[in-house]
Subunit: 589 residues, 2 copies
């Protein structure tokens, strides 16, 4: 690759994690950053110069990246730590003026490219946006996936394809535009009620779409469409074009046409293909917002999905306890496999919604570490065990994290766990006025950790798709402000954590739904409804640190968990669960 | 004015509150919005069309504006309420395409004009930026103030004019610029250690300044400079130019020159005067940030100023109680006068830092209502009395709000007051990591109100100048994110409130200083030190609603108040104060 760079007179090359749809999880075909660096985390950017190279990633992946970059010659830059320059600043200070930086414009958002161009050019650097660094060096490049598309039943979606297209058309008209481009794989899947298996963990198919005031087009490889999908598209008047023709299509838009574009979601190569005589109407993607606000069928389905998830978790954790009691060896991987089997047995289970994270002891402090046979660790008494997992059920996507103690908890473990739990409760029980953004609530979940000079480096909450991506926007609960107001029927995670490097990790995650709470003369107030169903580990709760209200919250939550799960559990698990839900029960394993 | 608009073919005219320095408090010469509308609040914008007119203001002023706009024919638009369009949206929906909107570019920031231009032009409207709507109609236009400038002693400023100019030059060099323009009146005063009396409540003089890598210029009317100030400027090599010559000066900058500009602080007319062959280096004003981080002398001076303020408040509230006990009539105005006298008696007192707000009963719910002889109300048992006041002392500027009950408090008053206090305490005792912005902490102060479906419409905290403007940036604690991180030695207010229209208002405001708390492996953590010294009204505290930690906070704070104030109080006030600080003391009046 460095030879190619030299040949093309490119001094630096930036390789992000994303694909042309700016997805978080990408098909192997686009795992360029992983291929060049060996680092497998879901987020990270590699920058290659002739004499040096660097990887930028966030605190979730510091430890994993350190391990996976060993002997790679790639420096690790820890994002979010004071003193770490962002990669653009680093490039500016490492490159002489007049130098060319190469990127592949298809895997960067228009927004990012425009900002980068401005910044680099004011530093005298040139950004080349059509530099494809892999064409020669990546010999065994995996092909684009070609898996079949299937129709997502309206009884799960709660809204038909034509209703959704109409909703989108209304947004197009409101913006005084003629059309909008759908680039996110989950946006295309949502709008047309179709799903696929092109990407691991996300039931999506690789496609673009364009919806105009009077037409709907999908850009997809025809080979992926079974006959029933073709007739379905015919029925809804959705025209099918080749996947690779989208750029040409855009370049042929007529003069005076007005296209609604979200520059954060449309890659630069697509944007660049739009002729200058076409007007760009810049807006946040209306599809993201429509998709984020769940309908009643989706909410009922999600409640059913978390119930099945809770049953599966109960089976798995009950099994773990019994295995350990019997002196049998259980490892992170064998537990993950058991949990996977328990989920698979549930009705309408489709796939896991992301790779299960099972972090025993110090591994739990590697926020999103993936366990492999090489680093698989036995679960033994004397430390904490963190399990972050979820399922894609036809009726909804789930995401839940629990941390348990195996054996006796230390005082520090209990204090840490309780402070994380207090933050979880503070957010879960918050009331807040209409118009509130996630950034305003984020500190509720962190305050008890901050009081102890502790913190966690990831966001507190992300949106969750419906039988779609486990991470979706636009809403979130994070330190950074994205301007999106929380609205009723938005689904989010509530997941504070704490990670002590070399010791253990704690994360407590439930799914929450935004609901209207009350209307008063002071305005309309919202609250969260906690959906996920599995008890917290009472053996890790230091009751002295809980206020009366917090204790009441835990007891009420545990009672709900028991009431909802117990009808679906065998007798022995039911009484086991009963033992878990009392705050007076302090001997978990 | 409508005639002039017709004559100039201008269909709408926008009249903001600001002056060419974009000040909050402006000299009478620039009180155009007040003159045209009769509305006297510090924030508001009037829009005039041929057939209608509107005033936009925020919740602090809803009630006041309603009263003052009566029979004016000007509609009131309540900003921040859902359903209220901003004035630009309103103009777009009320004006036909092709229409011209006129503004005076000298009283709008470049940032605002650029945004407005973009927005109006995409709606087919034309923005004319040199429409001066008052030249003919305002007959008795007050002249520009001509008051003398004086030197601010370095023993109070803690840093010399040359040190400050060097700090600014360093920022200019860091930004690779040749110069920067100082447009804020407080920026000019801070940089040169000069003060004046051109604007009520803000000890500033009307001037611009320009600092280059090797020169410093002030644009000011020479008549305002006594001989000692002229020699002082000579001593520091500060060249003096006429106030009105700044535009010419900018228009004559040489080609290739690089000027650092904060588009939020430089008015559009100035910006427009800069030739296009001059490079604009866009940055947040480095002077704002330098000014916001107080030096040790400023901090010690501020601590002395709040002490004097506390003594003055004790004198005044003691007097109030004795007057009422003696059956004498006290009104909002007579109390404000008494308080003013008590402040005036303090060492190095210069002026009040803003118009004292004395709101008895329903008047307290008018957030920033100014009491006049016409609406002056007697302070009688049976309701709450809110007093928001502050002083400019040579050693520092203060800002404090207390709310007391006169007579017996109702259960609702106690509950409301306690919930406001709990928010105040939550913010005052927060620990937070380096990098935290005010927006992340704002909800700490609101949470207990939100739980009761209550809220307040103003910000929770603003920066405070040093013998300068009582409101200064860039840091704040608000719902809106301005991206500014809180840093040690920044001074802020902590002022949650609650306003029940027609009943009473509550606001509890102290000044707080950001301090380093602890450095751990999780980073550096900050905390606030509360500076203001006056007890909260224990008769309004519902102790049952306080946690153990909150009670401890109040007791510790009260103990500090007593320890610091008592040496400066006469015997009877000392024992009166002792009676006020015990949480067990429940009978304030």
């Amino acid at each position: 690759m460095r030879k190619l760079m030299q040949h093309c007179n490119v001094s630096a090359c930036i390789i992000p994690s994303s694909d042309p749809h700016l997805s978080e999880y990408v098909a192997a075909h686009w795992k360029r950053r992983e291929w060049i660096s060996g680092f497998e985390g879901s987020a990270g950017t590699v920058v290659v110069l002739q004499e040096q190279a660097g990887l930028w990633t966030d605190s979730r992946y510091f430890l994993q990246a350190e391990m996976q970059l060993t002997d790679s010659g790639i420096l690790l830059f820890k994002e979010g730590l004071s003193g770490t320059p962002d990669y653009q600043t680093w490039l500016i200070s490492n490159l002489p003026e007049g130098t060319v930086i190469g990127i592949d414009g298809t895997v960067f958002s228009t927004h990012d490219v425009e900002k980068m161009k401005k910044r680099f050019s004011s530093a005298g650097l040139v950004l080349k946006t059509d530099f494809i660094p892999f064409s020669e060096s990546w010999v065994n490049l995996p092909p684009l996936p070609q898996n079949s598309v299937f129709i997502y039943n309206e009884k799960f979606a709660g809204s038909s394809c034509s209703e959704k297209i109409n909703q989108i058309r209304q947004k197009i008209t409101e913006a005084k535009a003629d059309a909008t481009l759908l680039t996110g794989l989950d946006e295309v899947a949502w709008a047309f009620n179709i799903r696929g298996t092109d990407v691991e963990y996300n039931p999506v198919t690789i496609a673009y779409a364009m919806i105009t005031t009077d037409a709907a087009c999908i850009f997809i490889d025809k080979k992926k469409l079974p006959s029933e999908v073709i007739s379905y598209f015919n029925q809804y008047n959705i025209k099918v074009f080749p996947y690779t023709s989208v750029c040409n299509f855009l370049s042929e838009l007529p003069a005076g046409y007005r296209i609604l574009i979200d520059k954060q979601k449309v890659n630069f190569a697509l944007f660049d293909a739009i002729p200058t005589y076409v007007s760009i109407v810049e807006r946040n993607s209306p599809i993201s917002m429509l998709k984020a606000i769940k309908n009643e069928v989706e909410i009922a389905g999600t409640k059913n999905a978390v119930l099945k998830d809770g049953v599966a978790l109960t089976h798995a954790f009950y099994w773990l306890e019994k295995e350990l009691e019997a002196g049998r060896r259980v490892t992170e991987l064998s537990f993950a496999e058991k949990l996977s089997v328990c989920r698979t047995q549930q009705k309408d289970f489709f796939s896991e919604s992301f790779p299960t994270i099972t972090g025993y002891a110090a591994k739990g402090a590697i926020v999103h570490c993936i366990t492999t046979p090489e680093n698989d660790t036995e679960i033994r008494p004397g430390n904490l065990f963190l399990v972050d997992s979820g399922g894609n059920y036809l009726d909804g996507t789930t995401d839940i994290t629990r941390t348990i103690v195996v054996g006796e908890a230390t005082a520090q473990q209990k204090k840490d766990y309780t402070n994380v739990l207090k933050g979880h409760i503070a957010l879960a029980s918050a009331k807040f006025p209409e118009g509130t953004r996630g950034v305003q609530l984020d500190a509720f979940a962190r305050q008890f950790l901050w009081n102890e000079c502790l913190n966690y480096g990831h966001g507190t909450g992300h949106g969750i798709g419906h039988f779609l991506s486990v991470h979706e926007g636009p809403q979130n609960i994070r330190i950074k402000d994205n301007g999106v107001e929380l609205q009723p029927n938005m689904l989010l995670s509530n997941e504070p954590g704490l990670y002590r490097t070399g010791e253990y990790g704690i994360r407590l995650e439930n799914m929450v739904l935004v609901k209207e709470y009350k209307k008063t003369s002071f305005g309309c107030f919202f609250e969260f409804e906690t959906l996920s169903l599995f008890p917290f580990d009472t053996a890790l709760i230091d009751e002295k640190l809980l206020s009366g209200k917090e204790r009441e919250w835990v007891n009420n939550y545990h009672q709900m968990v028991y009431d909802k799960l117990s009808p679906f559990l065998p007798e022995e698990e039911r009484s086991w669960l009963m033992g878990k839900i009392s705050l007076d029960f302090t001997n978990y394993f």
